[in-house]
Structures are given as C-alpha cells and as structure tokens.
Symmetry: C3
Subunit: 203 residues, 3 copies
C-alpha cells in the first residue's frame, strides 16, 4: 500500500514541479529537471542528511523515467489541468502523507532517535517542494501555505505514537493516511493556517 | 568553552533565522524550520561535504529542540528585539567565530589538508546564513556585508597558524575569539568592507 | 586530454561565476566563493548524491586555489572581458562537455546503472551554473538557455553509446567533444532552443 501511495506521490509531485517550471517559461529540459527534483528531492535530501547511501532513486532508475515522464505528460495535458484541480490536491495530500511515513520509516530503520526520525519524515515530505520553489524563484510555499508542513509533522507524530502503542502496521498506516489527508483537505477548504508573525524591526 | 560558545552560537543564529522568516510573513512552522536551518545548516553542509556521517545534529537531538525553541522564543520577544540589537550583534560575532573554529577542528580530525580545513571552517561559519537568505529570497548578505565571511577566513588562518606554532589550545582559542569578535565589531562600527567590483559587461 | 579539458573547464566556469557575482556587487570574498562554487559545485553535488566520498576537490586542494585565483583574475581583467566573449563561450562549451564526460565516468566507475550514469553526467555539467544563479538570485539560465543542458544530455548518450559499441576511448572522447562543442556553438549562433510551454492555469 505504501509503495502504491509512493508512486502516486512522486507522480503528483512531478506534475506540480512541471507546472511551476512551465509558469517560468522553462524549456522541455527545465520542466523535466524540475519535475524530477520536486518528486525525488525530498527523499534525496533525507538520504544525504542521514548518510543513507546509495540515495534511493539511484537504486531505482525507473523513478527517473516515471518522474520525467509525468513532467512531460503534464505538458501535453496542461490546458485541461485546471479542470483536474480537485483531484490534483487530493493526490498531493496523499503524496505528502506517503512521503512523511516513508521518511519516518527510513529514519527508524537506520536507528536514529525519535526527534531525528520526525525530522526525516518532515524533510521527505516538504523538501521536494522547497527545492522546486527555490529553482523557480518563488517563495517556498510550504512555509506559508494552509497547514501543509504541519500536516507532515502531525502525521509523523501520530504514526510514531501508534507504533509505540503496538498497533499493527496496517491500521497505523490507515489511520495516518486518513487523518493526514482529511486534515489537509479541511485546511484547504476552510483556509486553516498557523499564525504568522510580522517583524518590522531591523535587528 | 568552545561548547558553551557553540550553544550561544546556534541560539543566536536560530534567532536571526526566525527574524528573517518573520519578515517574510512565514507561519510558525516556517519560522521554526528557518531557525533550525540557519543555526545548524552550516555544520550540516560541512559534514555532508567532508563525508562526516552521521551529521552532527542527528547525534544531538537536543539541538533540534534548542534551535526551534529559540526561534519560537524570538516570536514572543519580537517587539523588544530591536532594543537588544547591540547584544545580538555580539552574540552573532561569537557565533561566527565559534562555528569557524569548530569547522576547522572537524576538518583537522578527519585528516584533510589545510586548504580544505580552512574551507571547512568558513563553510561552517557562513552557510547557515546563506541557506537562510536563499529560503527567505534575500541577497546572501554574508557575501556583501561588512567583513563577515572575511572574519571567518582570518580566524581560521590565525587558529591554524597558532596551532602550528605549538601554542596551547586555550590560548589559541582565546586569541582567535578576541581577534575575531573585535574585528567584526570594528567592521560594524566603522563600516569596514572589502572592495566590490561592478561589472557591466554582458559576457 | 580529459584532465586538461577539466582544468580549462573549472577555470572558465570560475570566471562566469565571478562575473555573475560582480554584477550583484558582491565583495572580493563573495566573488571568490561564487567562483569556487560555480566551478566545483556540479562535481560536488554529483559526489554527494552518488555517495562518492571524499568529494573530489577535498582531495585536490590545488583546485581551491585555481578557481579562487581565476575569480580574482577576472576582477583584474573585467573591463576587457567583453572583448573575449567569443573565446569565453568556446571555453564554456568545452567545460560543459568535459564536466559531462567526467560525471559519466564517475558514475560508471561506481557501478551505477546507465540512467543514473547519464544523470551523473548532466548534474556535473549543469549544477555549478544552477548554484551560481541561485546565489546570485537569477533565473537558473541553464533551464532556459539555447540548448545548454540538452547538449550535456546528448554528449552523455553519445559517449555511452560509443563505449557500448567498443570504440576506443580516444576516438570516443574526440567524437563527444566535437559533437558537443559544435552543437553548442550552432545553438548559440542560430538561437536553437527547445520548445517551452506557458502555463496560465493556477492548479
């Protein structure tokens, strides 16, 4: 189930990358590269930070084809994309949860302490989007947007808590997915967001 | 002494990160993440480049709490921060020197040659600020500002020279701290800076 | 021959970095750092992603001096640089091809599969320029410009194909260099470029 969610996740993230690259009038190559980076960048940053070599996609060259293919496919269907917006947001939410859970798993398998495991989950969840936004010269939207990164944090904490309580893996994953996707959808629907603070000091 | 200076350093850097994130109207999560990245990013880049795994903060989860805590604390005291500006600049200078010395030490322990050791010191000193500025979409100020990165270079060279002369560790650290903090303070007071060059060619 | 081309490559790339930094009015330190990062950043990202430690330049401190020296030298000759523009573009093209071939070689030596080897070549070829543009707050031009990254891709594929056919190393390198530099020069001369796509949807 997690593998399927992962494949959905990297496809959806590759498409968000391709759209962002397209908005900056990048060429076919730029679109492919941003698609690849958005989809696989979070896991790559996690693997490098945790010293988990070889990095995930270098063992699975098929992910290179999948993400670049998804980016180019987005090009073909771009004029219909806005009609698929609702579907897209659901896929993106599934992706966020799947990335977070996979990141936590990698951290656990490598024997890191729990705070580091949570960071591994969040980094996997959000860094693809951050890299996309840096390369497209946009504000990193995951640091502003309605409960996006926070959903990743909550999913990571819930997952670790349920594991700690000895709940079986399937129920744990199901619970984490339900809560994560639901929370993200509610945040989008009612514009839930964390408080921001405005600094005018020049310290 | 170096450990104490390091704790001061990551706290001060986390606060500069939180302030920069606040100026971009990031939410609570963004502020925490930028605080964490600014404080621990330089050491992380150094560890990854030198192949020094596990990366420092993954062995010290308490640093995660400390830097995020410092970021959130900045939020609470933000309206008084401008009154603390002078204190803040001193802490930041101490941080720069501490980061540089720790970076040099890591390079030496791993057996790298001296030019690489100097680079390790500088990277530890300045990359947290560079990552902060990239994510906040600002000019990387360490590449412009009054003798900032240069202080890091001078401290690294001084430290290695004194070590080479066989001066004992405590005197070496004391000298490096005095010279570094003093130089930075003078640069701020009298706006000392390196020459810049202006290019209008379109090569 | 590849080593000579590599030295030309890092010198030329360091100079493009110094020019970009100069245009942002960075100080001497900023110019040196951007020169270093532009020249050696692509190989560094490749080594980190492939888990190839120690990273290349940490074993060759002379590259640190060479790239920083090239950056500072650019400062001295900046007013004549526009007269050397044509020469500069040829050196840059040679650099792109050399970086790509070296990246492919590293990937092959580490035993990665072919799609990863191609990615290693492209990453080595273009990431220095991407890091330069991020730090100088410019659009990453390699994702827009006339057949730049695409030349890297074509060179990588040609090289692997000729190797696969059992052609001897010297002829393979000569063919890859000729095709790569010629293609890049033609693209510059006649403004060949890949199609871009414009997205107005807000998905």
């Amino acid at each position: 189930m997690l593998t399927l969610a992962y494949l959905i996740a990297i496809t959806a993230e590759a498409m968000t990358g391709a759209l962002a690259a397209g908005r900056r009038q990048m060429d076919l190559f730029g679109v492919s590269l941003i698609a690849f980076l958005t989809a696989l960048g979070g896991g790559t940053v996690r693997d490098v930070l945790l010293g988990n070599f070889p990095v995930n996609w270098t063992r699975h060259p098929e992910y290179i084809y999948l993400t670049i293919g998804a980016g180019l496919f987005t090009w073909l269907i771009v004029r219909w994309v806005h009609k698929l917006r609702q579907l897209f947001l659901v896929l993106d939410a599934i992706g966020l949860v799947a990335f977070t859970l996979i990141g936590c798993n990698v951290g656990l398998e490598l024997g890191y302490e729990l705070p580091v495991v949570v960071m591994a989950g969040i980094i996997t969840g959000i860094f693809g989007g951050i890299l996309r936004d840096i390369l497209c010269q946009r504000e990193p939207e995951v640091l502003h947007r309605e409960l996006y990164a926070s959903v990743s944090l909550i999913v990571a904490l819930l997952y670790l808590q349920l594991r700690h309580l000895g709940i079986n893996e399937d129920s744990t994953l199901l619970a984490a997915f339900s809560v994560g996707v639901l929370l993200r959808m509610c945040a989008l629907r009612w514009h839930w967001q964390l408080p921001t603070f405005q600094v005018k000091a020049t310290a």
